[in-house]
């Protein structure tokens, strides 16, 4: 667990923002907890612990239950994600067209073990199960931009761009 990293990177959690999300957007509705957490993750690019504690108090759900939710769903992260996020599709169509190799390649280049975030928080590599664009597999998405029929050369160029930033 890169916990030490999480602590030194802990951003200031703005409780007025949390109030806006929890009460204004979702009316403090417990059933909307997953969506509140998604909104918080959009805000901070991960789920800061104080924010989860705050939700727990605000809507009266034990922290353990929130922690279960945060660790159950694949889209949630308890550690900060990088400024650039690359998603490589590993759905069946993309897999058959070699997306596994792409993941390995990018992970090796960025010194990541199969996925995750670089220590400088610049880059995160994740896999997803089918983005619905199977016709142009393998599909890679970098910072919400699609790269259809991705290949190693193209990914190298993208990584170089990030490296020189």
């Amino acid at each position: 667990m890169p916990e030490a990293q999480a602590i030194c990177q802990e951003p200031e959690v703005d409780f007025t923002v949390l109030d806006r999300i929890i009460f204004d957007d979702y009316g403090g509705n417990r059933e909307a907890m997953i969506m509140m957490m998604q909104a918080i993750q959009r805000q901070y690019r991960f789920l800061p612990e104080p924010a989860l504690q705050y939700i727990s108090q605000a809507i009266g759900i034990p922290l353990t239950k929130i922690y279960e939710v945060a660790t159950f769903y694949a889209s949630f992260s308890l550690v900060p994600k990088g400024r650039h996020i690359m998603h490589v599709c590993t759905g069946t169509a993309c897999h058959l067209k070699g997306s596994g190799g792409l993941v390995q390649h990018v992970a090796a280049r960025m010194g990541l073990d199969g996925g995750g975030t670089t220590p400088d928080l610049k880059f995160t590599l994740e896999t997803v199960n089918c983005l619905g664009a199977c016709a142009v597999s393998p599909v890679v998405v970098l910072d919400d931009r699609y790269y259809p029929k991705a290949n190693v050369g193209q990914l190298n160029r993208l990584i170089e761009q990030i490296d020189t930033e």
Binding site: P62, L63, T64, Y67
Partner: protein
């Protein structure tokens, strides 16, 4: 209502689970993740039995299948024995030391050497998490999913709001939870990791730490009308016993003019 249980016709109250009816009739269905006090979670699947309705037969878990009509239940068929055998072999890899699993292995002829030991914490029956939630302390959680699932505390941190009741340690079928009183703290250790730490309350009489310092309102609330005598919150059981004994002695032996033994608590 009548059901056929392993070939014998028995009485069953509608709404009862297969497990309840079987136990009432002396039929032993193995379970790991079930205690009668908690709502069944059917996670271990060890209690799987065959249910025959008309011409259809299917597998259901006995611990939570409510009987609603006249059916036939088979609790010990070759298919079930075979499944249970594999299940025990698989679970054993996680907990090679478990006594309960060894006994079950014996009963179902499981070959414990078939899969290599993984030593992965526990069998994830979820009982401790459920009992902790039921008590109202909410210290333990089932975090992660898939193979990563495990018993955990929030953020894997040592919890401070545990009430040290020990229910989790009591309920664990594979004995993976230990409770240890150190100096002035009680420590809960789940699968070898420290899960909670609660300061212990010093006895106002002898000064030795005894019960956990907790928010008693929770206990009071659970205990309902019957209030916990304030005295018991301050004095350790040993001193409490001693002081009781002395008061008794004073009352009974005074007439014989015998000196009570020296020592004991302050008045």
């Amino acid at each position: 209502m009548k059901v056929i249980l392993d070939g014998k016709e028995v009485d069953a109250e509608a709404g009862r689970t297969i497990l309840e009816v079987a136990r009432a009739n002396g039929v032993d269905i193995p379970t790991l993740c079930h205690v009668p006090a908690l709502e069944p979670a059917a996670m271990c699947r060890l209690c799987t039995v065959e249910l025959v309705e008309g011409r259809r037969s299917r597998l259901v878990t006995a611990c939570n299948f409510p009987l609603r009509g006249e059916v036939e239940i088979k609790t010990d068929t070759p298919r079930l024995r075979k499944g249970r055998k594999v299940l025990i072999e698989l679970l054993h890899t996680r907990c090679p030391d478990s006594v309960v699993l060894k006994e079950l292995a014996e009963r179902y002829g499981a070959d414990l050497a078939r899969f290599p030991d993984d030593n992965k914490d526990c069998v994830v029956c979820g009982l401790c998490v459920r009992v902790c939630e039921r008590i109202g302390a909410n210290v333990l959680a089932l975090s992660g999913r898939g193979v990563e699932i495990r018993v955990n505390t929030s953020f894997g941190r040592t919890a401070r709001h545990c009430i040290g009741c020990g229910a989790c340690a009591q309920i664990c079928p594979v004995e993976k939870i230990r409770i240890r009183d150190e100096e002035a703290e009680r420590v809960v250790i789940v699968c070898g990791r420290e899960a909670a730490r609660i300061p212990l309350r010093p006895c106002s009489s002898c000064g030795k730490p005894f019960g956990p310092v907790i928010d008693l309102s929770l206990v009071m609330e659970r205990a309902g009308e019957a209030q916990v005598p304030a005295f018991n919150l301050l004095v350790c059981p040993a001193c409490s016993r001693r002081s009781h004994a002395r008061r008794l002695a004073e009352r009974h032996f005074e007439q014989y003019d015998i000196e009570p033994a020296p020592g004991g608590g302050a008045e």
